[in-house]
């Protein structure tokens, strides 16, 4: 019986471990091995015969004076800016909506259902609709901005050129804020009403209640939420891919698309894998740093 007891947790973990090994960990290791090879179309057919190149793929990727490294660095920069803005805005909108819908009012249930729609629509559907709306000549966005509101002089482009960054950001925020809203709505329900009552007795107004009670109570939820949003947004492939196709405009050249282009479109899987490994290392570093920092802060507050 005791042996069974000891083995039990491992038995329970076994399916999860097996799935993770097969789908995530082993392919990941294989991918890392590929990054050390010169895996172009000449060797793709029998890739174990591809020549080892050591760290050459990595050197090319981080040689920021040469165009390949330069392009990767640019793409990395775009991705960072995009991620920070998208996560920030999604979080802000999600928090605002969650706080404003904390008290019951007429139509709240309906509105909450509406707010969750973007999260429930399949990615392809949602993004292709945005592509349709962002078309310059026949799209809804320019129709409203230019024809109806006369806000802009000439119809701007959204799917090419510099504005494509804002188009991408809009779609990304539209898709991810409902998740933030949902999580935070849940988080708010755990705050005891007495806290607010006590604060109100002390003469605290709405804004002070939000600042002193709501936001601090949400901190543990936020820690998880922001991290999850960050990882999703940073690695998001579907949104830019459906929005711009295989060749994203420079201003919206997210790293996932960039790596896709470097491996699948130009058939250099060694280089693509090396870039992915670098990306993974970066994400691990950021996540570790984030967890340490937020945990320390939480510790300091307690």
């Amino acid at each position: 019986m005791t042996r069974y007891r000891t083995a039990l947790p491992y038995l329970l973990l076994l399916p999860a471990l097996a799935a993770e090994l097969l789908i995530h960990l082993v392919p990941m290791l294989v991918g890392s091995v590929m990054s050390l090879k010169q895996l172009t179309q000449f060797f793709i057919r029998d890739w174990s015969a591809a020549p080892w190149t050591g760290l050459a793929n990595y050197r090319t990727a981080v040689d920021f004076d040469a165009p390949v490294g330069r392009a990767l660095l640019d793409s990395f920069g775009v991705t960072c800016a995009f991620t920070v803005l998208s996560v920030g805005l999604s979080w802000l909108i999600g928090t605002t909506a969650a706080i404003m819908m904390q008290d019951a009012f007429r139509g709240r249930g309906l509105l909450r259902a509406a707010f969750l729609l973007p999260y429930a629509l399949p990615v392809f559907t949602a993004v292709i609709t945005w592509t349709f709306m962002f078309q310059r000549d026949t799209g809804l966005i320019n129709h409203v901005l230019h024809d109806q509101l006369h806000l802009v002089g000439d119809k701007p482009f959204w799917l090419i050129g510099g504005n494509s960054f804002w188009a991408l950001l809009t779609v990304s925020v539209w898709r991810s804020w409902p998740f933030a809203f949902l999580t935070l709505t849940a988080g708010l329900q755990n705050i005891p009403r007495e806290l607010y009552e006590a604060a109100a007795m002390d003469g605290a107004g709405v804004w002070q209640q939000i600042r002193r009670i709501t936001l601090p109570s949400l901190r543990p939820v936020n820690q998880v939420l922001v991290l999850v949003l960050f990882l999703w947004t940073f690695n998001d492939f579907n949104t830019p891919f459906v929005l711009f196709g295989k060749a994203a405009p420079k201003a919206a050249d997210l790293i996932s698309i960039h790596i896709y282009q470097s491996s699948f479109v130009t058939w250099n899987f060694g280089a693509g894998s090396a870039m992915s490994v670098l990306l993974l290392l970066f994400l691990l570093l950021v996540t570790a740093g984030y967890l340490v920092a937020t945990n320390r802060r939480r510790g300091a507050d307690d």
């Binding site: 947790p9 909506a97 819908m101 399949p122 849940a186 604060a199 709405v206 998880v224 996932s256 993974l280």
Partner: protein
């Protein structure tokens, strides 16, 4: 909040109105476009269709085998969800209720897989599927099984994380009482823990379903015509000669309807579930 002043209420109305417009505009666009003939859709934007037609809703079934893609998606996403929840529940239960060597390593490893860029392991995964097929005869490439396995794993890290947190918040007295009554650990899990954790399980299920339902990249390489899922199949409305915008929108609405309906039915469980999981 206590006694929000009138100014706050007005602000609230304004903000929520703007948000509702932002959120619902694309849905309105889908609805309007799906009722137009293709030539009108390709022309300048109009809110109200000038030649309203239901034709796109008829054509969607013949332009691509929509019914088959829909069935595939339901089977794949449904099975991946069921299995993912089951596996995550077992793992989450182990992590939450047992102290054992390697526990921390397990949670950290599983969590870190959430960070893997899909593009890195797409090709290796494909090669592994094929070689498993060649050496054992189990067809993972091109089959729904392979895709189910892939998707259930995609949602595992977050699901285990959420469920472990949720189970932590369920008082241990419950299990202990059960084990005093002579229940083994598995019976305790099934009879006591699962019912108590139902909201958390629903939350994880919705998350797992959405993950599998919308995935494009892996599905485009791991499926064939027979097993293609909706997320990829909908691209069939963009053909060599034309993009059938009106049909894409109509098809999207049709296939989303059941999902959205189910999702909305479950949303209150999701709210309750996330609370406990995230607050841990």
């Amino acid at each position: 909040m206590i006694d929000p002043p009138a100014s706050f209420r007005w602000l609230r109305r304004a903000v929520l109105l703007v948000l509702a417009v932002f959120t619902l505009t694309p849905v309105a666009v889908m609805l309007s476009s799906s009722l137009k003939p293709l030539q009108d859709v390709q022309g300048p934007w109009r809110w109200i269709p000038s030649h309203p037609t239901l034709r796109p809703y008829v054509d969607i079934w013949t332009t691509v085998p929509l019914a088959r893609y829909f069935t595939n998606s339901l089977i794949v996403a449904g099975s991946a969800t069921g299995l993912s929840v089951l596996i995550a529940l077992l793992a989450g239960y182990a992590v939450s209720r047992h102290r054992f060597r390697g526990r921390r390593l397990f949670t950290v490893t599983v969590l870190s897989t959430q960070m893997f860029p899909g593009i890195l392991f797409l090709l290796p995964l494909f090669l592994i599927f094929v070689s498993i097929g060649n050496s054992t005869g189990i067809a993972l490439y091109g089959s729904r099984g392979g895709l189910i396995l892939t998707y259930l794993t995609f949602s595992l890290p977050f699901s285990i994380w959420m469920l472990a947190g949720y189970l932590d918040s369920i008082p241990r007295d419950l299990d202990e009482a059960a084990s005093v009554d002579g229940c083994g650990p598995i019976r305790t899990l099934v009879q006591i823990v699962v019912p108590a954790a139902m909201p958390g399980i629903i939350a994880v299920a919705v998350y797992a379903f959405m993950t599998a339902w919308g995935e494009v990249l892996f599905a485009s390489v791991l499926t064939n015509d027979e097993t293609r899922t909706l997320a990829v199949g909908l691209q069939g409305y963009a053909t060599q000669t034309d993009v059938y915008w009106n049909q894409v929108m109509a098809a999207s609405l049709v296939v989303s309807l059941p999902v959205v309906a189910g999702f909305l039915l479950l949303q209150r469980y999701l709210v309750a579930g996330l609370t406990a999981g995230a607050v841990k």
